[in-house]
């Protein structure tokens, strides 16, 4: 299956549909910035300098009541649970979180569906679980499920053959 960026769109879609009034930022770097870098360059410039080596969470969202750490995964929900635990630990040590004012951190896992053991694992780690299944993700899942069936494989081979025949490859 051709490599295509989907999770970025998934998270953007979730944020727009659930929080159209804003109050969030995507792709936020987390983790401490070494003291010596802050001392030498200041917090803002030090953050820019150190940013490439920091992991990024999909999004953060803030209200007066809480500060949500949001991680979306179309597949691999299990990995996202681990990621969120790491991100929460890092967020607690992040000096430059956007619009953070001491609110409690809330981990939110966003997935198109969840098996029971994923629900239980998220709950046991104190995470909110949001189920978000836009139509285009359903289409993607169906495509993925059928990708290796003979019918779809033959159609794919025919498409490649035609592309080569017309000089499009």
């Amino acid at each position: 299956m051709p490599r295509e960026e989907r999770e970025r769109r998934y998270v953007a879609d979730y944020l727009l549909s659930q929080f159209p009034a804003g109050g969030w930022v995507t792709n936020v770097p987390l983790g401490p910035i070494p003291e010596e870098i802050i001392a030498r360059h200041g917090l803002v410039a030090g953050g820019k300098l150190f940013r490439p080596s920091r992991p990024r969470i999909d999004a953060v969202r803030w209200t007066n009541a809480g500060y949500w750490l949001i991680e979306g995964k179309i597949r691999e929900a299990k990995a996202a649970i681990g990621d969120l635990l790491v991100y929460k630990a890092l967020a607690e040590k992040t000096p430059d979180l956007p619009n953070y004012d001491g609110q409690p951190f809330i981990m939110r896992l966003v997935v198109p569906w969840a098996l029971d053991w994923i629900k239980q694992a998220a709950e046991s780690h104190g995470m909110e679980l949001a189920i978000f299944l836009p139509p285009w993700v359903e289409d993607y899942v169906r495509l993925r499920q059928n990708y290796f069936t003979s019918e779809v494989r033959l159609a794919r081979e025919e498409k490649i053959r035609l592309r080569e025949q017309f000089g499009l490859e």
């Binding site: 769109r9 953007a12 727009l16 804003g22 930022v25 940013r51």
Partner: protein
């Protein structure tokens, strides 16, 4: 009114943009890895405000990853209802975009 062909983001410096229309078009670039021409799609927005100032400009990206940030806003041109604060960091394959969408007041 400022006239400039394209909005260029400065690393680490947030820029607030408002888009009025968009287009997706094919273009050919030279692949930096192979040195060969490579067809790609670009997403380009027309920009009428940059950091609160009126401009006539465009914001263009050939990054598929970055284009997906805007995918939900393209149907019905929903981006017209928002300002986007974009912050770029890194360069080349390491380029990352941080995005905040802020609803514009109804006029």
């Amino acid at each position: 009114m400022v006239l400039q062909n394209y909005v260029i983001l400065q690393p680490g410096v947030p820029a607030r943009l408002h888009f009025t229309s968009h287009r997706i078009f094919a273009k050919t670039i030279t692949d930096p890895g192979t040195g060969r021409p490579k067809p790609i799609n670009a997403l380009e927005f027309q920009v009428d405000e940059l950091n609160g100032q009126p401009v006539v400009s465009a914001y263009s990206t050939i990054s598929q990853k970055h284009a997906q940030d805007f995918a939900p806003y393209l149907p019905g041109e929903r981006y017209r209802d928002y300002d986007f604060i974009l912050t770029v960091s890194g360069s080349g394959w390491q380029t990352e975009y941080q995005i905040q969408a802020i609803p514009r007041p109804k006029r």
